[in-house]
Amino acid sequence: MRVLRQSMRGRVGAHDYPLEPEAAPAAFRGQVQLDPNRCRGDAACARVCPSGAITVEETSTGWIWQLDDSRCVFCGLCADACANRAVSLSNAFELAVRQPDDMVTRAEFIRNEETD
């Protein structure tokens, strides 16, 4: 077989991950990413999120966008729902953290009345 012949010639079939990094394919749905310049705080992402991973909270001056990776199921509905293309699913899959709090990404926005 191809792999047996390969390894007999001294070539190892497997990648030496994690020493040799492994890139995810382009279509991969990894960690949710927010482009702060595109976010308008309309909370479409939070409304479609089936697991409550994304929340958008209105404040007196703007809004707080928050993502909890521990709740995310990587379905990508948020990216599909965002009319401004602010939310996307990146290729990041190495999501281990040391503290539970590090699972949460929080972005606070101040509403700019002139541009909105």
């Binding site: 077989m1 191809r2 792999v3 079939g13 995810a24 394919p25 382009a26 279509a27 991969f28 749905r29 479609v48 089936p50 697991s51 199921v73 990587f74 379905c75 990508g76 509905l77 599909d80 699913l89």
Partner: protein
């Protein structure tokens, strides 16, 4: 719709003696019968037309009609469905058990007892099934008045009573629920004399997550995210089954391109499962080279899944109304090449397995599931086909790209005829020749006859008569060849057009069900939405549900050390059984 038999509703209805109800499911005859005649009506359908019990759905409709509803759905061999319903009054929640007449009903009725508190009178085994010992009596999680947000205090109770055998030299061997490997939890209680298993009783449902309750009140979109995660290995089958049920409720259909993409995905799912399973079965006999190569090829297939859908388990592909991702020409061409290579290497792997006499010797005549027993238990999938039962949902209740026009069109243009006169689609480099030598070791003749071309439908459904571990391996190997060929044919003729049909949330109460052929066999999802557009009741009957009792039935008479092999050869899922 019901194109095979003209006016099907009349005879099935007459046979059952019930009163006709409307149905949204193509080919379904739905009747309601008085409670007392339920077992007889079910028996008449099973004996009269050779029907197989496909699911049973209990519902709590006390708020609307003052009663519970039971619906027994049967698959009729001529591609129809038959549902027999009855009302169980709320003030005396008991019904005459169907199990003594139709044994396949045994687990369904025990589950209805656990989840709804409906007492099946005359059922031979009234022990708990889904809810284990520490669940309090009188608490029924699928009743509408059960609030899942309030924690249920667990109770001390008498331990589960296993069936025990007594006699000189009989030893009881408890195994599990924790196992020495990364598998799911299940308890197996063997009674053995020396090496020989006399009886096996499995205790399952350790991973019951209350999915059917959890999904109630959710929107159809959110429901899909849960349905897709019922289990890991049949994710897409569950997702497509759910979507098809929802589409029937909404009165929409996935566009042709979406149907083809779904079928490609479903065949990829079958491939990565069957290829991995062929390797894993070698673990049962300690043939580790086979295990390693099976795992390697499975991983390559899963990488392909990931490139295609963004997920190794094909999650996120199916959506209600169609699919969320397209298969572009460039990637399709790449996938076609990759699959041809993997098919070739799988041919080498199967030649290696089938050529290993010590491996095959362990598999032959091991874990035999007799055909009549498989029929009585309503077994589906590979387990049924390896015991001589010719069934495959793709042919018997066609969906996605397996529907009449589609498969017939492909067959007429592309099917090669094998020397024995049986139809098989072109199999690019699947190493039939290599496999052939091995087949002879298990009885080539039987295998040849086993390839039924499928009732004029032309969809190849490999079957075998032996019912042993080897037969289940060989059926898988043949199905892999069919899947490889099918994907190539589907890629070659992708119709253009939209990927998804639009829909708005339903505004009337409606129910429907749908079935697909997952790698493990027929999956059947029953779905009902209410006028608010949210899910009212959802019943998942995965292929593992009717097949687990067959595993226990195939074990007696074998050696204890062969049980892992027998279990692997059925390759059932705990997560989608337990839900």
């Amino acid at each position: 719709m019901t194109d095979v038999v003209t006016s099907p509703a009349v005879d099935l209805q007459q046979l059952s003696g019930g009163e006709l109800l409307p149905s949204r499911v193509p080919g379904e005859t739905r009747v309601v019968v008085p409670l007392v005649t339920l077992p007889r009506a079910c028996q008449v359908i099973v004996d009269g037309v050779g029907a197989r019990l496909a699911t049973m759905v209990a519902q709590d409709e006390r708020a609307e009609t003052g009663s519970f509803t039971l619906a027994y759905t049967f698959a009729i061999p001529d591609r129809r469905w038959m549902t027999i319903e009855c009302q169980v009054p709320a003030d005396s929640p008991a019904f005459p058990s169907v199990t003594p007449l139709v044994p396949a009903a045994h687990w369904y009725e025990r589950e209805a007892r656990d989840m709804f508190g409906l007492e099946p009178e005359g059922h031979p085994d009234l022990r708990r099934l889904v809810m284990h010992d520490d669940w309090p009596a009188g608490v029924f999680p699928l009743r509408k008045d059960f609030d899942p947000s309030i924690p249920v205090p667990r109770v001390e109770a008498d331990p589960y009573r296993f069936h025990t055998l007594h006699g000189d030299g009989i030893v009881e061997i408890p195994v599990g629920p924790f196992h020495a490997g990364v598998i799911e939890p299940g308890h197996f209680r063997f009674a053995a004399v020396g090496e020989v298993v006399l009886a096996l009783e499995p205790r399952l449902f350790y991973t019951h997550r209350g999915i059917e309750k959890l999904i109630e009140g959710k929107s159809l979109d959110h429901g899909l995210q849960i349905a897709e995660r019922i289990c890991g290995v049949c994710s897409l089958s569950h997702a497509v089954t759910y979507c098809q049920a929802a589409e029937q409720i909404l009165g929409i259909e996935a566009p042709p391109r979406a149907a083809v993409i779904r079928s490609i995905g479903l065949e990829l799912e079958r491939l990565y499962n069957h290829v991995g399973d062929a390797g894993n079965m070698c673990a049962g006999v300690g043939f580790m080279v086979g295990v390693a190569h099976g795992a390697r090829l499975k991983d390559e297939l899963q990488r392909l899944n990931e490139q295609f859908t963004g997920n190794r388990f094909l999650r996120g592909l199916s959506a209600i109304g169609g699919v969320r991702r397209d298969l572009d020409v460039e990637f399709a061409a790449q996938m076609s090449l990759e699959l041809a290579r993997i098919a070739r290497e799988f041919g080498e792997l199967t030649a290696m397995i089938l050529g290993s006499e010590t491996t095959m010797e362990r598999m032959r005549r091991t874990g035999i599931l007799p055909g009549d027993l498989a029929r009585a238990l309503g077994v589906v999938g590979v387990g049924a086909r390896a015991s001589g039962i010719d069934l495959d949902t793709r042919r018997d209740h066609p969906y996605a790209a397996y529907r009449d026009g589609e498969t017939a069109r492909r067959r007429d243009g592309k099917t090669a005829r094998r020397p024995d006169g049986q139809n098989l689609p072109p199999s690019p480099a699947v190493g039939r020749g290599a496999g052939g030598e091995g087949y002879s070791a298990v009885g080539r003749g039987a295998g040849g006859e086993g390839h039924s071309a499928g009732g004029g439908e032309g969809f190849p459904v490999p079957t075998r008569e032996e019912g042993d571990v080897a037969a289940r391996l060989l059926v898988r190997i043949d199905e892999v060849a069919v899947s490889f060929a099918l994907i190539q044919a589907l890629i070659a003729e992708m119709p253009a057009g939209p990927l998804i049909a639009g829909w708005t949330p339903p505004t009337t109460d409606a129910a429907a069900f749908s079935a697909t052929e997952s790698p493990r066999g027929e999956n059947l999802h029953w779905l009902r939405v209410n006028a608010q557009g949210t899910i009212e009741r959802y019943r998942v009957r995965s292929a593992s549900f009717p097949n687990w009792p067959a595993v226990a039935a195939a074990a007696p008479g074998n050696m204890v050390p062969d049980f892992p092999l027998i279990n692997k050869s059925f390759e059932l899922c705990y997560a989608c059984l337990d839900r």
